[in-house]
């Protein structure tokens, strides 16, 4: 019965879906906020790769290479591998990154008074002044919040979101929330759970589920926490999966809620 109902309804509703299709962006712009793994604190430095760029401190776009300009540390990131995945999957013709991560930051550090907040403000000012639009904001943070109250983490995260939307004028950007609540040998299940809940509270429009960094064991890391080259590439692929999933869910959401009928 299930298959028959599905088939019949697909025929009946196909008309309303004829005008809609998954929107494949030509250029994907991605902002990254988080701590060490989201920054340049990983092992391998990826060189320049075609059609993958980054935003400079003055708002211009240059070919991306590790270490990325805005982010902490002097090692490598997962963003060149992510860019390569997105291009290989034809999800974009060009990918532009702006990772602004700060190593070792707890979520409170991204709020007013926190040590990462001045950097956040500077970045948001530049984004707003240059009218830079980001398709996605990747959030990769949590291991420094081991023991933080989940409710506190939730409220703090939403506060960061509000700040970024307001200061950077980034209300149309989709957030992808990675599950990252510790390093090898020590994970906080409560933080992992609240990260899942934050994504699941929406998962269609604004917040989406990101990769589960907790699942990467010691073989993917070089210092027990930050990633080795294989780990960087693996996370790049996982992030690409998450972005692909987010785009598909958002397209379905827009069709079903009749957003595609309006401009």
């Amino acid at each position: 019965m299930s298959l028959a109902v599905k088939s019949l309804s697909l025929i009946i509703f196909s008309l309303s879906y004829l005008t809609a299709h998954a929107e494949e962006p030509k250029n994907l712009r991605i902002l990254v906020i988080g701590q060490s793994i989201s920054s340049n604190c990983n092992q391998y430095r990826f060189p320049v790769s075609p059609h993958i760029d980054q935003i400079t401190l003055t708002g211009t776009e240059v070919p991306a290479k590790d270490p990325m300009i805005w982010a902490d540390c002097t090692g490598g990131s997962m963003w060149i591998p992510l860019g390569q995945e997105l291009l290989a999957r034809h999800m974009a013709e060009r990918v532009v990154f702006m990772p602004i991560g700060v190593a070792g930051t707890a979520i409170r550090d991204w709020l007013p008074g926190g040590r990462a907040y001045p950097k956040l403000q500077t970045a948001m000012r530049l984004i707003r002044d240059h009218k830079i639009h980001f398709d996605f904001i990747l959030w990769h943070q949590g291991s420094s919040d081991y023991g933080t109250s989940p409710l506190k983490y939730r409220e703090s995260f939403l506060s960061v979101v509000r700040d970024v939307r307001k200061q950077g004028n980034l209300r149309g950007s989709k957030w992808i929330i990675a599950r990252h609540s510790g390093c090898v040998g020590r994970f906080d299940p409560a933080i992992w759970k609240v990260q899942n809940q934050l994504a699941a509270s929406d998962n269609n429009l604004n917040f989406f589920t990101g990769p589960d960094n907790n699942l990467l064991g010691a073989a993917w890391r070089f210092d027990g926490c930050n990633l080795n080259k294989a780990g960087q590439e693996r996370m790049g692929a996982l992030w690409a999966d998450s972005i692909q999933h987010a785009l598909a869910r958002n397209a379905r959401f827009r069709r079903e809620t009749l957003l595609t009928w309006f401009h």
């Binding site: 269609n204 604004n206 009749l258």
Partner: protein, 348 residues
């Protein structure tokens, strides 16, 4: 047939009292407390309270037939609904849509300002959740002539049609955030038809009333089994996967609501069909409470966030006070000011 020869309509105290209970459940289901309290008991309570809008649809269908069937005039019927349903909807959509624009929601939805306004009016908008109900019920009103004609058919045939629609409800889910009146209509229609059915065929309704206790025990047993199964197997709360993606998937919540609705109808019609002034008062304001309670709950939530309150049972009491008490106070004040015009503006 002369008006005086028409059978006198009885006042449906059972339905009225059920309406009062249903609106209380609607307010409860929108309290953040149960959403954020993530344990098995909270999930069970949410299973009981969720989708209780279906009971409202049942009541609406029942009252539609009870009041309108004898001398139905479609033009007058639609005019009444535009005056007392659509106009209050527009009244509440104005501040809701304005708030959405103030919060730049149109950017989140990737719409222009005019596009956001048009879309919000069509689907009930994303700011005040319960307003999705109005575009959907307007679609139900459009179908009324056909439904009333159907009630003159053989009850067995209507019963079969009803069973088909109940199966549709049991194997569909709400559209994403209820933001599609057409698929919401498909999903919830069976409850509207159920109300019409029981009002149309009093022999069947009387049998249910005569065996109310047995019907209630049976229905509540099925409901409880479904609730326990859904909650313990993590089928509830369900992810918001929309109507099309989940088409054909069994909906334990909705199936449970079918049985809960039947049990409540039986019990109220048999044991609670007397005038209760307080319940009658709440029932008379139910439409107004439905429109306005979410505004007060959102205000309460904002205050809690600003004051950094934790979601404790004391906080739940404050939510109830705001959501229910605030709504009642607002409606009383509005009725005093607007007098006879109140139904056009606040729905009651």
């Amino acid at each position: 047939m002369h008006a005086s020869a028409l059978p006198k309509r009885t006042y449906l105290y059972g339905i009225e009292n059920l309406r009062a209970l249903a609106i209380c459940m609607v307010v409860l289901t929108h309290c953040q407390y149960f959403v954020l309290l993530d344990n098995i008991y909270a999930r069970f309570i949410r299973f009981v309270l969720s989708d209780v809008t279906a009971v409202f649809l049942f009541i609406s269908g029942f009252l539609l037939h009870h009041i309108e069937a004898q001398k139905f005039n479609y033009k007058n019927f639609l005019a009444k609904k535009i005056k007392f349903v659509f106009l209050p909807y527009i009244f509440y959509m104005i501040p809701a849509t304005a708030a959405g624009l103030f919060m730049h929601q149109h950017e989140s939805y990737q719409l222009t300002i005019p596009g956001y306004i048009e879309w919000s009016l069509l689907v009930g908008g994303p700011v005040i959740g319960p307003l999705w109900f109005i575009p959907m019920i307007m679609l139900c009103f459009v179908t009324v002539p056909a439904l009333l004609r159907m009630t003159r058919m053989n009850p067995w045939i209507v019963g079969i049609i009803l069973c088909i629609t109940l199966l549709v409800s049991a194997f569909t889910h709400r559209p994403y955030r209820s933001l599609n009146p057409f698929t919401s209509f498909i999903h919830f229609f069976s409850f509207y038809l159920s109300g019409i059915y029981l009002s149309s065929f009093p022999k069947i309704a009387n049998k249910i009333k005569a065996h109310a206790l047995a019907v209630a025990i049976f229905s509540l047993s099925i409901f409880t089994i479904l609730a326990i199964y859904a909650v313990t197997h993590h089928l509830f709360p369900e992810p918001d996967d929309g109507f099309m993606t989940t088409l054909g998937d069994f909906n334990a919540l909705m199936t449970g609501k079918i049985f809960l609705c039947l049990a409540l109808y039986a019990l109220f019609e048999r044991y609670a069909c007397v005038h209760r002034p307080h319940l009658s008062h709440i029932a008379s304001l139910s439409f107004g409470i439905f429109f306005v309670h979410q505004f007060f709950l959102i205000a309460a939530d904002r205050i809690a966030t600003q004051l950094q309150w934790e979601y404790t049972s004391e906080w739940f009491m404050i939510e109830l006070f705001f959501g229910f008490g605030g709504s009642l106070l607002y409606l009383h004040v509005a009725k005093r000011i607007l007098k006879k015009r109140s139904k056009y503006v606040i729905g009651c």
